[in-house]
Amino acid sequence: MTNRQVEILLVEDNPDDVELTLHALRKENLANNIHVARDGEEALEFLFCDGIHADRSFDHPPKLILLDLKLPKVDGMEVLKRLKGDARTKAIPVVILTSSKEERDLVQGYGLGANSYIQKPVDFEQFRNTVKSVGLYWLLINQAPVVKPAAKSAGQS
């Protein structure tokens, strides 16, 4: 496996949140194949193999996207809208992980096709448990979608 497959795309602009999230995932050995996008634009380039990620291929979609909503350049809702609106990326599970539980964000998020919506708990213990549960569920328990035959063969090579 030369091209190590990214399992989680973490879209998060706040370095403290990135660190705490990685810390929580690392504890469960879920942080090995993770890519962090620090704004919405980079997340889109990563997913659509464009810009600084032009060398990536659609054959290796992440198994899970952890998406913050308040992001520089392109915000989380826009990222969600673009990737759920594209046949090549719409099957990737998206978990919104945000500070807000405003009703309009919930409604809009699910409306755009988010698979889950989680408010980051203030208490770190709860936060860690939440991240752990999310990671375990989507990476180990959940059966990932088969995006393309090409993706499968690439994974097997």
Binding site: D16, S99, K120, P121, V122, D123, F124, F127
Partner: protein
């Protein structure tokens, strides 16, 4: 025949003495026949002199007709009469006296007076009402106006030309079309009603006229006359215009204020949203990194340092609760109420299930009475009971056996829901602070809390058009009462669920 007459009849001698009378004369004078005969006839009139003149006239001319006099009754009552009198002669052809017959015209005079009076009143009313009558002979085109209509049109009395065209000349040209149309229509319907402006002839002022009239048709159905009223309604029109202008201004102001309010609301919404997002994030980081510090380096830290870190942890936890409670309070203000007929007993039951953890290890006696079905937002109502019941549980903690009662009671004629505990209570002098945000009546070491709960409850109750208040005594427990203003049409049906459910 003389006796039978209802008119007073009398014969008088040449000397002016009454020689005979009938009953009617007795009645009208109030004097008996015996008294009347032989007395001077002129004694019985209000104007004896005029009576004697009339008497002389009879002798001079042989007769008088419709000679007006007034007879005075013994009681003072006066009867207006008209006399017809003539001389009568004996067999020798000599004039012997006068025969006079009176006709009572009091009633006729009254009617005439009344008619005159009502004509005067009508004229006065027309003048006061800036209105007058017109009578238009359509076939001959003669339009007769009362003096009042002339005045309304600014024309000197009797100066109106008297034709349809003379009227048209006074009307503002733009208004003629509608007025003509109304006339045409009235020729078919028989009813005329229209409005137009005139240029008043004397001062050129533009005035508003309202007209109402009825048409009179001949037997062939041809319109003959139009009879009606013209009224100057300029003042009313001006007042109406003023009212319309004020209404528009008011509407404009309401729109403005609403827009301002909406803007303020939006701003508040944006504020709470950013608080929700921005305040929670750094809090989470403080909590996270201090936790990691304890976990990863705790063993190398002095016990005092570990204690400080614990305080940081506790502080962030409390601030987290505070932020969440505040956000919730803000959300209630914006929340669109979703009203449903809800049985309050089931809301209480759900709440009790949620409170299980808080009640663990406590000796608690619940007395849940029968609560009504009310129209409310069930989610918000649950928050009310969550706060009130968890307060009751919390503040009764020092009691070896806490008793918490929920029920309905009549308070000043209004049914109120109450939650009562036998806990530590509070002094009534702080009752006005009870529902303020961040207001706490107990020390944080004794009873935990953010000071937002009762403010939230009050906001919810007010949103339902109700009222909340408390009665308490220090160390003797507290009772919270609330009413719901929203129509509780289903109130009559008391809840089927009973206190037994709580056991």
């Amino acid at each position: 025949m003389i006796e039978a007459s209802l008119d007073p009849l009398v014969t008088i001698s040449r000397e002016g003495k009454i020689t005979d009378v009938n009953r009617a004369t007795e009645a009208v004078t109030g004097a008996s026949r015996d008294r009347l005969i032989g007395s001077d006839f002129s004694n019985y009139f209000t104007q004896p002199e005029k009576a004697r003149q009339g008497y002389q006239q009879v002798f001079a001319e042989g007769r008088v007709t419709d000679f007006g006099l007034a007879i005075r009754h013994a009681s003072g009552r006066v009867t207006d009469v008209l006399y017809n009198a003539s001389v009568f002669k004996n067999e020798a052809g000599e004039i012997e006296g006068v025969f006079a017959a009176a006709r009572d015209i009091t009633r006729r005079k009254q009617v005439e007076d009344e008619l005159r009076l009502s004509r005067e009143r009508l004229a006065l009313a027309q003048k006061a009402g800036h209105s007058g009558t017109f009578d238009w002979d359509i076939q001959n085109n003669i339009n007769h106006w009362s003096a009042e209509v002339e005045e309304v049109y600014g024309i000197a009395p009797g100066e109106f030309g008297g034709t349809y065209e003379d009227w048209e000349a006074l009307v503002v040209p733009e208004d003629l079309v509608t007025a003509r149309r109304a006339i045409e229509k009235s020729l078919k319907t028989g009813e005329f009603a229209s409005e137009w402006r005139i240029r008043r002839r004397n001062d050129g002022e533009i005035r508003w006229i309202t007209a109402r009239a009825k048409l009179i048709f001949d037997e062939k159905g041809q319109p003959q006359r139009m009879l009606g009223l013209n009224m100057d309604v300029t003042e009313r029109k001006r007042a109406e215009e003023e009212v319309r202008r004020l209404n528009q201004e008011l509407e404009q102001r309401v729109i403005q204020r609403t827009a301002q309010l909406e803007a303020a609301n939006k701003e508040l919404e944006a504020f709470t949203y950013s608080v929700s997002h921005d305040l929670r994030a750094p809090l989470r980081h403080i909590s996270g990194f201090s936790k990691l510090l304890i976990e990863e380096f705790g063993s190398t830290l002095a016990p005092e340092a570990q204690h400080h870190l614990q305080r940081i942890q506790e502080g962030t936890r409390r601030m987290g609760l505070l932020v969440d409670d505040l956000l919730n309070l803000g959300r209630i203000g914006r929340h669109e109420m979703c009203l449903q007929v809800t049985g309050l007993n089931s809301v209480v039951n759900e709440t009790l299930a949620d409170l299980k953890a808080e009640c663990e290890g406590r000796q608690l006696v619940w007395k849940i009475g029968s609560l009504p079905f009310v129209e409310c937002d069930p989610g918000l109502m649950k928050q009310v009971f969550q706060n009130l019941l968890s307060n009751a549980v919390k503040f009764s903690r020092p009691r070896s056996q806490a008793v918490i009662e929920v029920g309905q009671e009549d308070k000043d004629g209004t049914p109120a829901i109450f939650v009562r505990d036998n806990g530590v209570g509070f002094s009534m002098k702080y009752t006005d602070k009870l529902f303020g945000v961040f207001q706490r009546l107990h020390r944080a070491e004794d009873f935990e809390g953010t000071g937002v709960g009762l403010a939230t409850v009050q906001r919810i109750i007010q949103k339902h058009g109700g009222r909340i208040w408390a009665e308490a005594e220090l160390d003797k427990g507290a009772t919270f009462y609330f009413t719901l203003g929203i129509s509780d049409k289903t109130k009559a049906k008391t809840n089927a669920a009973t206190a037994g459910d709580q056991a």
